[in-house]
């Protein structure tokens, strides 16, 4: 999308020298602009220039497919007569590149150059050709760093949006996979790609994604997080309403479910919308492992999420207000541990949780070489030594550690991050009002959750509101075998809701012993 108005366009001058000078001037004489001017034998009357930005083009392609044919060009006699349309002849007979197009003004030329295309101009033509010679140094496709699976494809997105699109194209080999490119960012002109499966994704949602993307006006987009904050439905919520992934197979699965994917050049993290609360509990591996294992692990995950939100709060409530809930022996041993502790339970818990959060952030940000030091110190502040020093009780260390571990079970980092913040609110409410405080905070959380929407889809569907069709339950809390999942999961007005004709297993040929 070009933000510039039509009035601002500068047409090319017929003089090649003037054009080249303007381009050089516009780039402020930057040293990475390469301008190569020459005359070839076929058209000695016309000077030709090749202009590109060094480093973001593939020099081999330039040399072999642009430079070489142009220098030694032998135009067939009918293609070019003296003073005729040289550019047209070059396009049809010389430049051996797949994507070549003609442009009419200077701004386009500048834009294409910064996109990694090379511009070919000829003296006497008020137009130019661009050839796609995009290339240069990129990180290669590697194993995803943040979302690992044991079974499943092992390649992840990279920083180049074209590579990322190609990774998805290789999974969904269908002409129904539609991809639209947008340019967002006044300065960065970042390529933002929207992917959806035509005929499966809801048209209204696709249009809404386009509408929200078109409304973004910012100087630069460096990561998909920028886009996420612009297009999400609700800003002031702790819960993410867009999912992100660096796995092509996850994006492919989302597209098949009727979601829309948004990829941003320069970031290996792609976005998916709409999302519901329950999709954050689905790991790609759930669909590759056997369904029984997958279902078991998924239930564990829901449990772990509840633990990571509620466990410290429950511990505080029980030890501060409702001691009678505990079995007597456990109560005595906990009370004995807390005997020398100077702080109330809430302060103790906040202290430990904050220590853990600091430790965790330190582990993320520190240089690799300091790693061992962190683990040694971490074990001191969050372990036996803290207990021996009489600052915290052993029970609290167990609680905080188990909460932390539970938090790491979540397959989606941004959903796991919400529980880190909510936990503190719950702890404070539990410290003041005990179980009643926990009840009120959970209730407020539920009210907030059901009022959220992601691109028009209620966040808690198919639980609340319940499903309007049969079947979405087959892939929410458990995952049934693949042959039983007939419908796509979202409760949308899908034109094409069925993934399979029926929920029956294809019959297998049985080999009996007698035969």
């Amino acid at each position: 999308m070009n933000k510039q108005n039509a009035g601002e366009f500068t047409p090319f001058s017929p003089s090649l020298q003037a054009n080249v000078e303007t381009i050089r001037h516009r780039f402020g004489g930057s040293t990475d602009i390469v301008i190569r001017m020459f005359r070839s034998d076929a058209a000695p009357d016309r000077e030709v220039a090749i202009i590109y930005v060094d480093g973001i083009v593939d020099s081999e392609t330039i040399n072999e497919s642009v430079m070489e044919p142009l220098m030694s060009m032998k135009l067939p006699p009918h293609a070019y007569v003296k003073g005729g349309k040289l550019l047209e002849a070059l396009r049809s007979c010389v430049v051996s590149i797949g994507s070549v197009q003609e442009i009419q003004n200077l701004e386009q030329a500048l834009q294409y150059m910064t996109d990694g295309l090379c511009v070919i101009m000829a003296d006497g033509s008020a137009a130019a050709l661009t050839a796609d010679v995009n290339g240069g140094e990129y990180r290669g496709v590697t194993i995803p760093q943040t979302q690992t699976v044991i079974r499943g494809p092992q390649h992840g997105f990279v920083e180049n949006v074209r590579t990322n699109i190609s990774l998805v194209r290789r999974i969904i080999r269908s002409s129904d996979l539609h991809i639209q490119m947008h340019k967002i960012g006044r300065q960065t002109h970042t390529n933002v790609a929207v992917l959806y499966l035509n005929g499966i994704a809801d048209d209204g949602i696709v249009k809404e994604v386009y509408r929200r993307l078109a409304a973004i006006d910012i100087d630069g987009v460096l990561e998909s997080g920028y886009i996420e904050e612009f297009i999400q439905d609700e800003t002031f919520t702790l819960f993410p309403t867009l999912m992100n992934t660096e796995r092509p197979d996850t994006i492919a699965a989302a597209l098949l479910e009727g979601r829309v994917a948004v990829m941003v050049d320069g970031s290996p993290i792609a976005l998916m919308a709409p999302t519901t609360f329950f999709t954050f509990f689905q790991s790609p591996e759930d669909y590759y492992q056997r369904f029984d294992i997958a279902s078991f692990v998924r239930i564990i995950r829901y449990g772990a999420y509840v633990v990571s939100i509620l466990l410290p709060a429950l511990y505080i409530a029980v030890t501060t207000y409702h001691q009678e809930m505990l079995p007597t022996t456990l109560l005595i041993s906990l009370a004995a541990q807390r005997e020398g502790i100077p702080f109330p339970c809430l302060v103790e818990a906040l202290l430990m949780e904050l220590t853990f959060e600091v430790l965790r952030e330190a582990g993320l940000r520190m240089p690799r070489a300091i790693g061992p030091a962190i683990s040694i110190v971490g074990a001191l502040v969050l372990g036996q030594s803290a207990v021996q020093a009489g600052i915290v009780s052993a029970g609290m260390v167990i609680i905080v550690s188990f909460t932390a571990i539970s938090n790491f079970v979540m397959p989606e980092f941004n959903m796991a991050a919400t529980s880190r913040i909510i936990r503190f609110l719950f702890m404070i409410m539990a410290g003041i009002f005990g179980f009643f405080g926990i009840f009120i905070s959970v209730l407020l959380m539920l009210i907030h959750l059901v009022s959220l929407r992601s691109f028009g889809v209620p966040y808690m569907s198919p639980m609340a509101p319940g499903p309007t069709r049969q079947g979405p339950w087959r892939d929410v809390f458990v995952r049934l075998p693949w042959w039983a999942i007939v419908l796509r999961p979202m409760d949308l007005n899908l034109r094409n809701p069925k993934r399979r004709p029926n929920g029956k297993k294809p019959p297998a040929q049985r080999h009996s012993d007698k035969a």
Partner: protein, 360 residues
């Protein structure tokens, strides 16, 4: 306009009717025939429900306030609608006060009541401000929790073999009279007659044709459940003990002792209590707001805060719990038939001879 679906209506009826009802042993004045009193009241309540649905069917697109003005004219109808607003707010206030009393009695003995009531009312006001759709979705989330908790309690009771059916004998020891006096008006007024509140919500159901069927079936289902829970409590505690305890279900659950682990399940009862009171409080609060909005013709969000403040303020009027229970059990139950039976009956009779245009 926010709309709710057929299943959502059913779930709302079920959870609203359950409310906090199973925690109390209703109709215990009839001793071991309390469950018969429940049954009689439930049948009478079904008749009332028929009547309410019949009134609603005359103008499916109208809610209580609109029905009243349609039948009694602008001024009398409006006046009666305001009476309903007061009654809904009052009933909502009773639930708020219940939460305050129970929390300070059972969980937080030294926490002041005003903050407890403020918190629960905040949750209610937050829900009401988000609208009916969000409220029904919250109820949908709470429904499985309540269902599983009740199922768990009943299962444990059966495993520990606490219920004894002989507690129900002899049936009809003193004839039918004690059963009827227990059933009317007390048990009919709470909970069965409270179905009248759906005159406010039926308008918002997307499929108008099924409101009758969905309401009857969920009403019958939830009545059977309530009678069943009544029988269970009666079978465990016996009529004498059930009559003197404040929260019989809590007493029942405290009797469960299994394998040294499953003890002290009071927290489940407390949770059920809070869920029930929250749903009732919010539904009544919302009904008051809907009705006031329709009477005064002002924006919905403008009604939320004033009604909330009125509910919060009036929750302090009763000096103590004894007074609260006395007003609730003796005075209120004598007045509610006006709203549950008399006024709807008037609507029915006045409407017999009128012809109705489809209300928009």
């Amino acid at each position: 306009m926010q709309q709710i679906g057929k299943n959502q209506l059913s779930i709302l009826i079920i959870v609203f009717m359950i409310g906090s009802t199973p925690l109390f042993e209703l109709g215990i004045k009839a001793k071991q025939d309390a469950w018969l009193a429940m049954t009689v009241a439930a049948v009478a309540g079904l008749l009332l429900t028929f009547m309410y649905v019949h009134i609603q069917k005359r103008a499916p697109g109208a809610e209580l306030a609109e029905l009243l003005t349609m039948h009694f004219g602008r001024w009398i109808g409006g006046f009666i609608a305001v009476l309903y607003v007061i009654w809904f707010s009052y009933e909502s206030m009773r639930n708020v006060r219940d939460v305050g009393e129970l929390t300070t009695m059972a969980l937080l003995t030294s926490t002041p009541k005003w903050i407890v009531m403020l918190l629960i009312l905040t949750a209610g006001a937050y829900t009401v401000s988000k609208g009916l759709e969000v409220f029904v979705r919250v109820v949908q989330l709470l429904f499985p929790i309540a269902l599983l908790s009740y199922a768990f309690i009943v299962l444990l009771l059966l495993i520990t073999r606490l219920p004894k059916l002989t507690q129900l004998l002899p049936i009809l020891e003193n004839g039918i009279t004690p059963v009827l006096t227990a059933a009317f008006p007390d048990v009919l007024g709470f909970p069965f007659g409270q179905m009248v509140i759906f005159l406010v919500f039926w308008k918002h159901v997307s499929e108008k044709k099924i409101i009758g069927r969905a309401s009857y079936w969920s009403y019958i289902g939830v009545s059977i459940f309530l009678i069943f829970m009544n029988v269970v409590v009666l079978c465990v505690l016996g009529p004498e003990l059930a009559a003197i305890t404040a929260l019989p279900l809590l007493e029942v659950v405290q009797m469960i002792r299994l394998a040294n682990i499953l003890e002290r399940l009071d927290v489940i009862v407390t949770l059920l209590l809070y869920i029930g009171l929250y749903v009732k409080m919010t539904a009544l609060y919302m009904a008051a707001v809907f009705t006031l909005k329709a009477v005064l013709g002002i924006a919905y969000r403008l009604c939320v805060l004033p009604i909330g403040l009125v509910i919060y303020g009036t929750a302090f009027l009763e000096p103590n719990n004894t007074y609260h229970l006395w007003i609730g059990l003796d005075i209120t139950l004598k007045i509610v038939p006006v709203f549950q039976i008399l006024l709807p009956l008037l609507l029915l009779i006045v409407g017999m001879r009128k012809k109705y245009k489809q209300a928009k």
